[in-house]
Amino acid sequence: MSKAEFLLELLCEEIPANALPGVREQLRTGFEAELLEAGLVGAAVAAYSTVRRLIVQVAELPATQPDREEEVTGPPVKAAYTADGSPTPAAVGFAKGQGVAVDSLRVVKGPKGDVVAATKQLPGRPVPEVLAEVSSRVVRALHFPKTMRWGKGEHSFVRPVHNVLALFGVRTFTTRVPVELLGISASSGTFGHRIVAPERIELLGSEGFGAYRAQLLKAGVEIGAAERRAILERKARALAVEVGCEVRPDPALLAELVELVEHPGVLRGAIAERFLQLPEEVLITTLRHHQKCLVLTREGHVAPYFLAVCDRPDDPDALIQRGNEWVAGARLTDAAFFFAQDRKAPLASRSASLAKMLFHQKLGTFALKAEKVGRLAETIAATAGAKIDPKLLARACELAKADLVTAMVGEFPELQGVVGGIYARLDGEDEAVWQAVYDQYTPAGLDGALPRGLVGAAVGVADRLDTLAGLFAAGEILPSGSKDPFALRRAALAVARICAEAPLACDLTAVARDAFAMRTDGAGDETRLAALLDFLQERVRYYLTTVAAVKPETADAVISAHWGVMPQDVARARALEAVHSEEVFSSLAVAFKRVRNMVGKSGEGRFDVALLKEKAERELLAAVEKAEKEVQRAVGHADYVGGLRSLAKLAAPLDRFFTDVLVICEDEDLRAARLALLARVEKVFLRLADVSRLSAQ
C-alpha cells in the first residue's frame, strides 16, 4: 500500500519571532502524539514556519486508518454479576450502551478493584477525517507567549489567521482535508510572499509537499528556518568579503533575523567615517539594538559598514539600502548627541540623581543600593584572601550605578555598566575602577567573561548578593519552574562563578547573611534567610556539577560538609573526584554513613579518654588524632588530595572499631565516650567532605 502525505498551513499576520521556535516544536510533538493516539503509526511529522506561516508536513501516512479496538470499563464486578454468575441489569445495560454482546464482557483490574470491560471495535475511518480532527486539536492546544483577538473578537490566537491550507493525498494532493480552524474553512491553496508574489497558489493536484515547497520558494517564501539561516549567512559573508571585512559573530541576532522574514535578503550599507569616533560598544549597540543590523569588522575593529536583513530577495531600486543607510545615520547621529550630552559632566557628578531612581518598590532607590553594595564589597574584600585596594573598591561602588541616569543608558538599557565604564575611563578614573564599572554585569550566569580585575569581581558579587538578599528579604516572587522574573538564578550562578574563578575566597554564606541583615536591619524573617542560603547552595551545587564537572554525589559530599568558600569548594570537589574511585573510599563511605547515623542520634558527648580501653578504641583514637594533624596541615597547604588520603587511613581502624566494639552499650559513660570519639571522627571528615554521600561500589 502506498504511503500518503498531509500538509497543513496557517497563513497569519506577522507572528512574533520569539514565539516561532517553540510553536514549531509544539506542532511537531502535538501531531506525533495525536497521530499515534489515532493509530496512524509510522507517520513522519515535520514542522516549518515563516514570519507569516505555521506549517506541518506529515509523510509516511497509511492511506486508511487501521481498525482499532478500544477498551471501555464499566461497573464493578460485584455489581455486574449475581452470585450464580449471571449478568445483572447493570451489566446488560453497560454492554448495550457500548454496543457489544453481554457475554463478551471481560473482567479487568480497575483502580478501585475489579470491573467489567467491553472491547469495542473501532472501524478505520477515512484518514482526511482523522487529520481534520487531529489538526483541530493540535492547533487549539498551541500555547503562545501572548495571544490576541481581532475583528469581531470571536477567536483568540497569536495573530489573525487569513488562510488555512489542508491537503491530503498519495503522491499527489487529491483531497482537501475538511477542517475549520479559527473560523476559517481549509482551502486547497495559499498565497505567496506579500510583496514579491501575493497571488493565490492552487495546490490541489500538485505533487506533494516537495511541490508546495518549490512553489512557495518561487513565490518568495523559504519555509525552512535552517535554510533561511544558511542563505542569510552565505549572503552576509559574500557582502563582507567584497569590502575586505568579516561579519562580527552574533548568533543571537542571527537566530532572531531568521524568524523575522519569509525570505532573507541581505544588503550592505555604509556609515559615515565620523561615527567611528563613537565608542565601539555604542556603535555596535546602536546598529544591533535599533536596526537589528549585523556589524562588519576589519582587523578586529568596527568597519564603516553594516548588513541589514530585509524580507525579500532583492532591492530593485536600491531604495532599501538607501533607506537603511539613512536610518542608521539618523540613529548614530542620535547616539552621538547623547554621547556629547553625557560627556558635558563627569560620571561622578551623576551619582546624586540615583536618590531619585527606584531600584525596587520595597527596596528603595539606587542610591541606597549603592551604599549597601559599598559596605558589602568592603566585607568581601576583607575576607577574600586577595589584595584589593579599598579606596579603588569604594570608588568603583560609588560610580557603578551612575550611568543609569545618563542619556545613553536611557536609550540603550543593555549598555548599562559598559557606558559607565567608558565614561569613567574618559574621566581618567583608575583602570581598576573603570573596568570594575564596565564589567559589573558580567558574567550573565555561565555566559561571558569574568570581570577583568578583583575590584570588578568584588563589586559584581556584592551587587548581586545585595539584590538576592533584598528580594528574598522582601518576600518577592522567587524563582520557580520556568519563572524567574528577576533572573535570580543567573545572578546567584554568577556569584558562584566569580568567586570560584576570580578567585575570591570569601565565605558566601557569611556574606549572604550580612547582605540579608543589611536589608532587614537585622530583623529579617529567618525562614527567608534560610531560603536565600538554600537557593545559593543549590546554585553552588549547579556550578560544581556543570563547570567544575564533578559527579552530583561528589558535589553533595562537598556541600554537605560545608560550603561557601568557592575556590576551596571547587578544590575539595576536584580532589574528592580524583581519589574517590579508589577502593578504600568505597568502604569508607559505608563506615562514615554509620558514623553519621550514630553521632546524629547522640547529644553532645563528654569525652573521657581514660574510659576507652579496648584495643580497637585506642587504635581509632590514635588514628583520629593523627588524621586531625595531617588534615590540618593539608588544608593549610590546600592539599585536599593529601587530606583525603589521610582520612582514608581511618578506614581500617573504623572497620575494626565497628566489628569489635559495641557502641550502644549499657554503661552510659562508656557509650557517651564512644559516641564522642565518633563525633571527633565525623568532625575531621567534615573538614573535607561528607563521604557518606558517596555511593559504595
Binding site: E13, E14, P16, A17, N18, K146, M148, R149, W150, G151, K152, G153, P160, H162, R194, I195, P198, L260, V261, G265, Q291, C293, A308, C310, D311, R312, D315, P316, D317, L319, I320, R322, G323, N324, W326, V327, A328, G329, A330, T333, D334, F337, K356, M357, L358, Q361, T365
Partner: protein, 314 residues
Amino acid sequence: MDLQELILSLSRFWSEHGCVVQQPYDIEVGAGTMHPETFLRVLGPEPYRVAYVQPSRRPADARFGENPFRFGKHLQMQVILKPSPADVQELYLASLAALGIDPSVHDVRFEEDNWESPTLGAWGVGWQVLLDGMEITQFTYFQQAGGIDLKPISAELTYGLERIAMFLQRKDNGFEMRWGGGLDYGKIRHQDEVELSRYAFDVADVTMLRRHFEDWEREAGRCLEQDEPLVIPGLEAALKMSHLFNLMDARGAVAVTERVALIGRVRKIAVRCAKAYLEQRERLGFPLGLGNGNSKLNGKHNGGSKTAGKGAER
C-alpha cells in the same frame, strides 16, 4: 513630499476608506490614543472609523531644540478602524502607496511591538511597521481600554508624521524637514521646542501643578458623580491630570515611590469614564448600531500596492 502634503494625503486616503476625519483634541495629550475619538469610541459594540492628526506632548522627551530627532511635541496621525477589517494590513499598505511609497520596491516589515498605557488602563497587541528599517507606524489591535475587554476589536494605526516626513525627504535633522508653504519645520516650531523645554525642565511651578492635579481630580469626581455622569468633562479632567503629571515628572518632582500612585489616580478616573461612557451609550440604544452587517461605515477601498507610482518619493 512635505509634511502638510503627507497629512493631506493620509487624511484623504482614510476619508475615502470610510473614516470620519476628526480634528486634534483641544487639550494637551501625550498621544492620539487619549483623544476621546479613540479612547471612548473603541468601547462597546458600535462600529466606527476615524482619522485625525494629534499633536502629542511628551515634556520629558523635549531637548531644547538641540537634538535633531527629539521633540517635546510631535504630530501623530491616528486612525481607528472598528472592528478591525480582515484586510487591515493591505489597507495600511495602500495608505503608504498614497504617500508615494510603493511597497513593491521597498521592504515593509511588521515586527512585534505591543502597547500598554497604564494611565488609560489600556493595552493592545501589534507591531511597529518598519519601512526600509525605519519605524514609521505603530499598529495595534486594542484588547482592553479603561480596564474593559473590548469586543469588537479596533485596529489603531499611529503614523509618526515627523519621522515619515524626514525619511521621505531624507533629512537627518527634523528641523530642516519641509513643512509646506515654503517653510521648514524649524522655522515654524524650533522656538516652541526651546521654550517648552525650558518650561518643562526649569520653570514650571511644581506646587501649582500639584494643586491643579488635585483640583482636576476632584472636578473629575464631581463630573462622574452626577445623576447622569458627564463623561466628556470627566475624561477631559483626566487628560489634564495626565499632562500635569507629565510636567511634574519632567520637572523631576515625582518621587520614585509616588509615581505609580499618581498614575493610578489618573487611571481610576479613566476607568470610571470608560464605564460611564458604555452605560451612556447603552442608555442611548447604541446610536451607531451594533455592527451587524453594517456596511455604511465600510467605505470603498481601492488603490492596492501595485497602483502607486514607482519610487514617487524621489
